[in-house]
Symmetry: C2
Subunit: 107 residues, 2 copies
Amino acid sequence: MTEPQDAIFRALSDPTRRGLFERLCRNGDTTVVGLLGEAGVSQPVVSKHLKILKTAGLVRDRQQGRYTYYSVERDALRTLIDWTSEMSGFWNDRFDDLDNLLKRMDQ
Amino acid sequence: MTEPQDAIFRALSDPTRRGLFERLCRNGDTTVVGLLGEAGVSQPVVSKHLKILKTAGLVRDRQQGRYTYYSVERDALRTLIDWTSEMSGFWNDRFDDLDNLLKRMDQ
DNA sequence: TTAATGCATAGCCATTTGGGTATGGGATTG
DNA sequence: CAATCCCATACCCAAATGGCTATGCATTAA
């Protein structure tokens, strides 16, 4: 059972790739060549990273003539947010339990 | 410049490792042997993963006799939450900009 | 229609990574 | 004190990963 978090965390774990995603978050809708500047790697590498981000459901691409525009996918970070709040929830629940325990012990 | 997100995303990108972290979120304060069951890997591998989680600032360990208890670090997910909301922010800002643009065009 | 541009795919290679077994040291139990 | 248990470190190995160059296919520009 491969969780959806797998692809997300994997995709964002590489600095170059996360940099591409961040740039798309800031500037949105950019061509591959447009992303090439700050990436610091060759064009094929950028393409490869974008494909991974796309597979993870983080970005989408749109063809226009000989250009390919990439942009952040709608609800890209939904899975990440959900997972994080679930984990935080467990954490808080345990503190609630501890809290209740202490209250009961206090009586 | 190695961002703090690097270690976090890296650490959580591996399913086995994320599984360990999730288990600690749910149950908190568990020994290495206690974690061994669900992990599905050998004890040395669990220890190695825990070390990586610890280095990433996600968990802490506490020695007690011959047992080592691991638990989720306070504010473990802070960095993750901050990064996510920052990215979401950029996204929303762009929509605000678009919104403003449309309003201005509307006049 | 030729030349140039944008981009993806295909190989190739060095490094990293996740897993295993072997081992040893400290703490507890018999 | 001997046996056992908990856990970390040291190696080793196959597979995955991230980078590169070469190349080819569209699309646009000359």
